[in-house]
Symmetry: C2
Subunit: 293 residues, 2 copies
């Protein structure tokens, strides 16, 4: 279990809120892992149904300085590799890093909790997916996150459904969210060196502090649930498609782009790696098998 | 063919010298490619001798602004993927980049020629290898380069031989070179996030301008030839070793470290990618097949 005792610098209200948020991330993790395991055990007609059904394995890590996380990883016949990580950490940002974080310039104290999911399916016709939501407290406090889809073989129908689901989610909370967060996602998940997007996009938001923290938390919960519901449907819809060795090769080459993005551009990855984060949790995002032919 | 016409800003002496240097890089490329193809065609006893013998394929690219390069890549039964790139480029560094380059603060004009080699062998017992030498002219001029070995399965004997060969090379030119350039290599090819070296090291040097340009050129030629001789011996010595599926898996996982280094830390890779270099030439260094299980 992750030690979630709130640090002293939080007000009693914020301490209570941080516990509720961390509870939600854990609940979402349990819900998603449960749904993914159900898909695995029901995958009787998939091209890889002769392989054993996958189960999540859990591993705890602790952070020097405060808090820790839980890695859940499954290697299955539908999900070649899927990681769902939750973490609750607190401490003090290094002095030379404080200027980059809102509200951290004073004493650099922070609390951060989040969930992060990356799925790399076996079948080239099942899109890969990424979802992350987080809550950060310094002298300010905000939610951030999003979800995006990376079809390996083109999947325009699934990409449209995914966007429609996220749009509906956004519109339940604020009519401005979807266009703004879709654009943010398109801008962020872009491989400049190849002049191509990482995938079919989705939504990306950060520094969300609308003035109504309960509303922001409600939106963040909805993003997690909507992503999960949408992606589970997409997986079920595509996992039984027949694929060839050529399709598989194409998938492995396209996965190289995923690696290039995460190691060259992803803020979380490079920050985590360069500041002593948990390597296994951070690099959980990398695909299990990749080719640069 | 690469257009090697020296740009106007070079003095006649420097223009002549730049042509000699570019000639050498091409000659070294031809020599190495020839030796590697000989190894391929003679690999009758290797575990993969049922596969066809590899041959280098060439591709030219031109650079917007001046010059270009030639990619030589081979996919064979000994060398799963080996790239040997040469390039001769010139132009003007972007203003915000000039401060990082010696002698470029004035007008930012430059000429650069070089050779770059990365070999990823099939057999996990054959170390991967990297070699690069280059000559750069701004208002200053210098040589840089080096060679290093990345055993996938541990290969202490080969690593020792490789270092002995590079040490002998260095000592033919300056007794200070080997300890200094070995340390530079150890410092440079280091994965900070994993607290581990990329491989068994070698030598790395840059900004070499001893005051005797012919001597520096002679050293750089010797580095290229010594690397080639040493590595060809190492490949011949290890290529027929029997390996298992477990050895292969281990190799593919270790290759992930190679990718992590090149995309997270390598100066040439990130600079090239972020400033519009030739993607295919720059990413030639990435292994053909990789696993992050």
């Amino acid at each position: 279990m992750i030690n979630r005792a709130p640090p002293d610098f939080l007000t009693p209200d914020m301490a209570d809120f941080s516990v509720r948020v961390a509870d939600w991330f854990e609940k979402l993790r349990d819900n998603i892992c449960g749904q993914f395991e159900t898909i695995e055990s029901a995958a009787e007609d998939s091209p890889l149904s002769d392989k054993p059904s996958g189960h999540f394995e859990r591993k705890n890590w602790t952070r020097d300085g405060g808090g820790g996380g839980q890695i859940s990883v499954m290697h299955g016949r539908v999900f070649e590799k899927v990681g769902v990580n939750i973490s609750v950490v607190h401490g003090q940002f290094a002095e030379d890093f404080r200027a980059q974080i809102p509200g951290a310039t004073d004493d650099g104290q922070f609390w951060a909790g989040g969930i992060s999911l990356v799925a790399h399916p076996q079948n080239p016709f099942v899109p890969a997916a990424h979802m992350n939501t987080r809550f950060v407290i310094t002298s300010k406090a905000w939610f951030g996150g999003g979800g995006d889809l990376t079809p390996l073989k083109p999947a325009p129908k699934q990409a449209n459904t995914f966007h429609a689901d996220l749009k509906a989610c956004c519109e339940r909370h604020d009519p401005d969210y979807y266009p703004k967060y879709k654009q943010w996602c398109d801008d962020y998940f872009y491989l400049k060196h190849r002049d191509e997007p990482r995938g079919a996009g989705g939504i990306f938001y950060d520094y969300l502090d609308s003035g109504d923290r309960e509303a922001d938390f409600s939106f963040t919960r909805d993003v997690g649930s909507s992503f999960a519901g949408s992606y589970v449907n997409i997986v079920r819809e595509t996992m039984n498609k027949h694929f060839t060795a050529e399709d598989r090769h194409f998938q492995l080459v396209r996965r190289g782009r995923y690696v290039e993005f995460n190691l060259l551009y992803d803020r979380g990855t490079s920050f985590g790696l360069k500041t002593g984060g948990n390597i296994e949790a951070i690099l959980m995002s990398l695909p299990p098998e990749v080719r640069w032919p």
